[in-house]
Amino acid sequence: MTGSGSFMKLEIPSRSENEAFARVVVAAFVSRLDPTLEEISDIKTAISEAVTNAVIHAYEDRVGLIVIKASLEGNRLIVEIIDYGVGIEDIEQARQPFFTSKPELERSGMGFTIMENFMDEVSIRSEKGRGVAVTMSKSIRSRDPIPGLE
């Protein structure tokens, strides 16, 4: 997460009112790459999914720490959402569309599927009882390609 480009780090308590704040901060951070409205919308949605998961699943009824790190490498955004909560035992199962451990809360089990659809790459690391780190990346298309270089 270092590299040559720019980077940011945000630490927030896992309260639901911070979900909007987190996605807006990352959208502002990536704005220097001049993303399209659709790219911004995709990024905001993916961030919202990961942060909401930390609020709902990682800490359940308590408030814990969520760390959001982002960096730009060339035209690529790399963003990592980290929590120190209960962790995920079976990551393959968690990634399945419609899998949710909280159907009683009306979760649809689509969070990871949406992240995978809206970002180029999504990787999940977790250890039971120690939290989750979700790393996602997305290349921002150049809107005005230099003639002859494409």
Partner: protein
Amino acid sequence: MEVDLRQDGENLIVRLTGELDHHSATRLRRTIDRRLDKGEVRNLILNFQQVSFMDSSGVGVILGRYRRVKGRGGKMALCLIPAGILKVLEISGVPKIIPFMESEKQALEAVSQW
């Protein structure tokens, strides 16, 4: 998120304004359910025209209301869905079970066809 409820016969029309995420979903769910529980309406229409953001929490609210309305023999339709939100709904398979209409009028027609 702002929620505007209006009743049209046995139909409840809900106009949503703002961002629909986990934070706003809790109140939206409660507002709609309170009205459905009164038992005066049968069908539910959600108007998304003014919704600027939605994630999977919105999908959960929609499917949860669908189950309730259907359980009481009613119908549900969505209308005026912005492009940015359509993608989340399509990935989640919502169009396979709930019709998406172009206007409130069309949505009213969709829920009143038997």
